[in-house]
Subunit: 452 residues, 2 copies
């Protein structure tokens, strides 16, 4: 029998992050200044981010050293295990071999600390005392709170309102690690107050919470802003996942035919697939399939145009070329709060535009059905976000059953769902519904795309 | 720099459980039949347990093979990591070296699956279709639900009422894995109905929930009963923890001066210390200190007599010689639901009686203060049960700071607290209180000790 889990010793943990930028077949489109429409300079971003991160955002280096202080904290839970899903394979009666890289064993329960630790480190190094951020389901906010505790930085989190009330445990996690967390829209910013005046019951959105956090940062000298996904440096930090997984797949003496993950802003899945896609770009693995899975109710890649748009509702951020549903689109309140974002990481968008990766959209009820099957076979209670990827893994494994092909499938398992049990209850008690693609709302939001 | 985490490959996972019984300096007192007062025979226990477990309960073998099917499931999360708590050490400014064996990475988030998987296996092997059990905070019930999913066995859980309502997430976990969970006292058994008639607001206790689960099992032909702690075979299964920790301490080239863990029924901590106490019994480590930590509100070892008592409220179980606060004592509703038990594992009781292990009682507020310090240094959000042990680890580390001794401390970290965030919120918002030792209630309960 092959192994169940492939472990790496901490001496085999990556000591560098992998930067895809110089390996892209075509360069990434410029990031534009929202005022001038010209490419942004590092100095333009300095009010928001420390220079260490800004330089990573545009770096031409293939690999960037992970600072020792960051490695030391990574080692409190990394390297993470690669699992073989024997029980799920057996339950599906499939010849496919299913592996999953599991990020749920971090202190925050997801992949998010990989970048939170790094971002807090560079801010600390440059003397920043306070960081503002937004969070959807709370995985990002709680991870930055954790990083704030490690580096003694004050953290203020604007949490999407619907998740703030649906997922109180994530807020308490943030408070336990010493952060302050408010529901967005909040009374603490102009963006929040404006929205509340317009709609006092606004459920919030990631785009709006970003507006609040950015406004907070630019209005205070002691504060920087931090983003948990989307940007190049965030995806960069997550490449520890894929580098480890590559070594572990080698230990198992296999290479994936298909890699599958869920995408909200795109960072967890890009962190897994970027070190692999290098093999596809360079012609060694031309048939490698990479499937991005998003909610049918917020289908950025599968339905949105590839266009310049703001990262936030208020139009405070630079303009990014990305697939988007419009910066003022507010997605339906699916439990996978981390996937409720109108845009998509420019790197993921670019790779999708170039045809190097695929995308699929799935319905909420199907994802929960898949998540429960995973729980009852592999034991792990997955985050609702991760269930989106599990749904497509099961689909692909069942196709293998039909064709008799023993494909190797690699799932990016982004985190556990122990603090999402209210969503499980809603599903088990029949109270959960599907949300259709809100076509009219998107159409309206797309009318507000900035003119470039 | 030394390592942060010591990992074992799955080929180094123990393939046998360690049985302390033949190594005890004096034999364990007999278990007595509640009706006859005579030592129980294996046949007496057959209505409750499969013979595979009954034989383990009395086994004279030093080591017992772990069945391959059980090993295969253990490998979905075992071996678990041994961590060095560098950040906690630094925050305490102590010369002590603190290590912790962390069981929170199992699918259930605690050590409980170690025995749940084994118990479900032996029941399945003997054709049992359904198992009834009780649970306190829900760690045990959810772990048996997980094991039921792995082995396709129906699970019915009687959950202590106060925890059922305080910790809904644990109930939902059980339901996700396919089990049925009711609050105890329930209308489903005579023991439950009698208690509800007497006190409709009864918060429940482990002793009462055991009565309900045992009654359920003996009244149905298709059902066995399962206990998550206390009994010899349960402690046996948990020795995978200590055997792994011993190998990992060897990798770190250290041996503990002090081992510290929390005790409710005693199984998680005994699972850690039994493979080490062998070295003390056999004279190789005469100075090894082993500290059992219990709540001041339920101080079984530190305040109770060593006497024969029932395991449950109704007096359905065999009589065990143990430290006890009286089988009908209902402990105050501390958040560490897993430590709210009137009795103590006979093996732990015996070792305490022989002076081979120590015991300390701690107050709820002190344990949360320690748990928050651990969260803000090591990152891990601990279960309220585990916080009891962390409190004493910090005390001992601070003593080292005073004396300048660089002692090696090993903490048994039994699980994470991601589903206990309501308790964290109560503490952080100042709503948590201490519970004093309920001396009068215990005095009254001890009047009802069975005459032997």
């Amino acid at each position: 029998m092959e192994k169940t889990r492939y472990l790496l010793d901490e001496k085999d943990m990556p000591t560098q992050w992998y930067n895809i930028l110089p390996d892209l077949p075509e360069p990434l489109p410029d990031v534009l200044h929202p005022g001038t429409g010209q490419p942004v300079t590092p100095d333009d971003l300095a009010p928001l981010f420390p220079m260490g991160l800004i330089m990573q955002e545009f770096s031409p280096e293939h690999y960037i050293d992970i600072p020792e202080e960051v490695q030391a904290i990574y080692k409190t839970w990394r390297p993470t295990a690669l699992h073989r899903a024997y029980r799920l394979e057996k339950a599906l009666d499939t010849p496919a071999k299913i592996y999953y890289k599991y990020e749920g064993t971090s202190q925050g329960g997801s992949h998010k600390p990989n970048t939170a630790i790094a971002q807090a480190y560079y801010n600390k190094k440059e003397g920043v005392k306070r960081i503002s951020t937004e969070t959807g389901a709370g995985q990002w906010g709680s991870s930055l709170a954790l990083a704030g505790a490690f580096f003694d930085i004050e953290i203020k989190v604007y949490m999407v309102g619907v998740s703030f009330y649906q997922k109180p445990y994530r807020r308490i996690m943030m408070e336990t690690w010493g952060a302050t967390c408010v529901p967005s829209p909040s009374q603490d910013t102009q963006a929040g107050r404006d929205m509340l005046a317009k709609d006092p019951d606004c459920p919030g959105s990631l785009g709006l919470a970003i507006s609040e956090a950015v406004e907070d940062a630019v209005s205070r000298d002691d504060t920087h802003y931090s983003l948990g996904s989307v940007l190049n440096h965030v995806l960069l930090h997550q490449t520890v996942i894929g580098q480890e997984a590559k070594k572990q797949m080698e230990m198992a003496d296999v290479y994936p035919d298909i890699i599958i993950g869920c995408i909200g802003g795109g960072s967890n899945f890009a962190g897994l697939f970027l070190p692999f896609i290098k093999d596809k770009i360079e012609g060694r693995k031309p048939d490698l399939r990479i499937i991005n899975v998003e909610p049918a109710s917020c289908p950025t890649l599968t339905k949105g145009p590839y266009a310049y748009d703001f990262g936030d509702v208020s139009g405070l951020t630079p303009l990014l070329k990305m697939y988007t549903l419009g910066h003022d689109f507010i997605p339906p309140p699916v439990h996978a709060g981390g996937l409720r974002y109108h845009g998509m990481a420019p790197i993921v968008s670019h790779l999708y535009h170039l045809g190097l990766v695929e995308a699929q959209a799935t319905y909420q009820l199907d994802t929960f059905e898949a998540g429960i099957k995973f729980a009852r076979t592999e034991g792990i209670l997955s985050a609702p976000e991760t269930m989106h990827a599990i749904k497509v893994v099961i689909d692909e494994a069942l196709k293998c059953k039909e064709t008799g092909e023993a494909k190797t499938i690699l799932l990016g398992h982004s985190g556990h769902g122990h603090v999402d049990m209210a969503a499980y209850e809603a599903y088990l008690s029949g109270k959960l519904t599907n949300y259709e693609y809100p076509e009219e709302m998107v159409k309206k939001a797309l009318e507000n795309l900035p003119k470039v």
